[in-house]
């Protein structure tokens, strides 16, 4: 084990690899920060550049780019409420209110640090899990994944603390939007209205840009031409960023937990980064003490999501490299790049090319540390953060232009732009009338996955799938989670009512 690990370091320790990784993290942050681009488009555009490169150099370039995409995506999510890509939507929930409360620097510091720590933990999980991957992968069938998704859906309650009924309605709206498209089992078009562009369903980017970005644009504009996103007159300072860094280490147990959960979710093919971020956000909201500030600007909401997102990449790399089964669409593109570079993923990677796998672990660690350190030490965040103090009349045209292009780029359908703006109006109304928007995204992501895995489980095991031990465990956890969340919400409301009664007396 030590030998391949050292050989892995030797592979990375070349000036040209470091140079390529530096270029890759700049590009990765850019692709992450521009809505509608994201890691997949970045990978697709950069693959032609690696033709003719040494296999490890090409791999380090693409992997470093893909590993830091979510770090860049968190910056517009926190400062302007515009998620750079789908998984960053969960960062908006607490990150953007922090900026509005004048704590944008702290949110950015926490986001960058937790991303780096999460990335490192994801890489460590990748390294540690190599020998145990096969039994774990064999233990998780469609039934277990379905039960796990049901468990994830119970986090809707935790994410909608302000009002359970409104949260549930929001979740059902998300679940309903998730069913649009051709049903893969019967070929029936569900709510496609004969439109070809709806056959593949709605894109998560369309939903996220509408529900968050356009809703925030309208909300900002309604406050007048001189309104600012951030409260107060102070700008992001270095000390604020460091406060965020300290927050991550103050909440080290949460960072570790969400990173490990994120890495494990990454290992499961088909769940993806969106599920990882929302499940970890729900976990953070449910398990943290004094959680009444979640959704209104709690730094722990940012930490939980960001550490999970970057840790997920390490986890997702495992099935891709070891079995040749990509855990997500990004990993599928990366798998194609591996083949172009002459690297054949499969069990042979562990037996014959272990030093290469260790090299990947080191690339993940270095890329994450390099990104967060450079963004924290260089005055990048302060410069971008100044934009949050611009008056709305100057911000809105730029934001609308970027979000509008993002809505089109994701699939190249002009109809998606209309849909994004229509969903933006719904998002604005939800924001105005205090309907939590997180459950909608959680429902949209997990609903169709749950349906797909339910029918697969029924096809393979019949109704007996519910009797499988791991399924029973996850269902019990789901029931416990639901009861715990309802009980804690009830307790909070009773305490609030008692307090208001005493104040009245």
């Amino acid at each position: 084990m030590i030998g391949p690990m050292v050989q892995g370091i030797q592979l990375v320790m070349h000036w040209n690899i470091w140079g390529l990784m530096l270029l890759a993290i700049i590009l990765g942050n850019f692709f992450g920060a521009v809505p509608g681009l994201g890691g997949n488009i970045g990978l697709a555009l950069l693959i032609p550049l690696v033709f003719g490169m040494h296999p490890f150099a090409g791999l380090a370039f693409l992997l470093a780019m893909h590993a830091v995409v979510h770090t860049g995506g968190a910056i517009p999510a926190i400062l302007f409420g515009i998620p750079g890509n789908g998984p960053n939507a969960a960062t908006v929930v607490d990150g953007y209110p922090m900026t509005r409360n004048g704590n944008g620097g702290r949110a950015l510091g926490a986001s960058l640090t937790s991303s780096a720590v999460g990335g490192i933990i994801g890489a460590v999980v990748l390294a540690l899990m190599i020998p145990f991957l096969r039994p774990i992968a064999m233990a998780l069938g469609s039934a277990e994944i379905f039960a796990m998704i049901v468990f994830g859906l119970t986090f809707i309650v935790s994410v909608s603390r302000s009002s359970l009924m409104k949260g549930a309605l929001s979740a059902f709206l998300g679940l309903s939007l998730g069913m649009v498209g051709l049903d893969p089992r019967t070929g029936v078009g569900r709510f496609t209205f004969g439109q070809l562009w709806l056959w593949n369903g709605l894109s998560i980017v369309t939903i996220v840009l509408g529900i968050f970005a356009f809703a925030e644009i309208i909300s900002l504009g309604t406050r007048g031409r001189s309104a600012q996103i951030a409260a107060g007159g102070t700008q992001i300072s270095r000390s604020e960023l460091w406060d965020g860094v300290k927050d991550v280490f103050r909440h080290w147990w949460l960072t570790l937990r969400t990173a490990v959960i994120g890495a494990f979710i990454g290992m499961i093919p088909g769940l993806g980064g969106d599920a990882a971020s929302w499940i970890c956000y729900g976990h953070a909201a449910q398990t943290c003490r004094d959680n009444e500030m979640f959704g209104q600007g709690d730094v722990r909401g940012v930490i939980g999501v960001e550490s999970a997102q970057n840790a997920k990449e390490g986890g997702a790399l495992l099935p891709t490299v070891v079995f040749g089964i990509p855990g997500s669409s990004g990993m599928a593109i990366l798998l194609g790049a591996f083949l172009i570079l002459g690297i054949e993923p499969g069990p042979g990677m562990i037996t014959q090319h272990l030093s290469f796998v260790w090299g990947m672990v080191w690339v993940l660690v270095i890329a994450n540390v390099m990104t967060s350190t450079s963004l924290l030490l260089l005055p990048v965040c302060q410069s971008i953060g100044k934009l949050a103090y611009f008056r709305s009349s100057l911000l809105i045209p730029g934001i609308i232009t970027v979000a509008g292009i993002g809505a089109y780029l994701i699939r190249g359908h002009w109809q998606d732009v209309i849909l994004t703006i229509a969903i933006g109006f719904v998002g604005y109304m939800m924001k105005k009338f205090d309907y939590p928007r997180g459950p909608l995204i959680l429902g949209f992501i997990l609903g169709p996955l749950a349906e797909g895995y339910f029918y697969k489980s029924m096809g393979v095991y019949g109704i007996d799938f519910v009797k499988r031990p791991l399924v029973l465990t996850f269902f019990s956890l789901a029931a416990l989670s639901l009861c715990f969340s309802c009980w804690s919400t009830y307790r909070e409301k009773t305490a609030e009512r008692r307090l208001s009664y005493e104040v009245e007396r």
């Binding site: 681009l37 549930a168 031409r225 730029g398 780029l409």
Partner: protein, 149 residues
Amino acid sequence: MKSKGENVFLLLLFFAFCAGLYLCRQWPSMSRLYPTITLSGGIIFSGALLILQFFGGQKNRKPQKVKEAVPLRNELIMVGWVIGYLAIVLIFGYWVAAAIFPLLFLSIFGHENWKIVSIYSVVTCITVYVIFGYAIRVFLYGGVLRLSF
């Protein structure tokens, strides 16, 4: 009644869920199960919230957070601007929208001086071209007039 706007929003959701349930009745059972569950859930919760809005007791209601009241006029103006942007994109495409929209918005909504308006519009146009047209080379929609390159 708490808020007219919220009632309208809930009514729209309620009817959308009902329409969805009506539409899915002719699909095969395998395709219908998931929509039936989710749409029924939507109907139940939107209906329950509507009933609470109309008949819910005021005594037990939790005091709402005091929010800055936004005049309806401001909301309509912003909705109009967003629809205006969409119209420019659909007719003239993204390249023209990148130049025209900031110009119109800054001068009419923002009352900015002509220097800021012209510099902002030119910078937006150049940035969009450099990033999407030159560096990434993606095709951006040219509108019904097909003004793209």
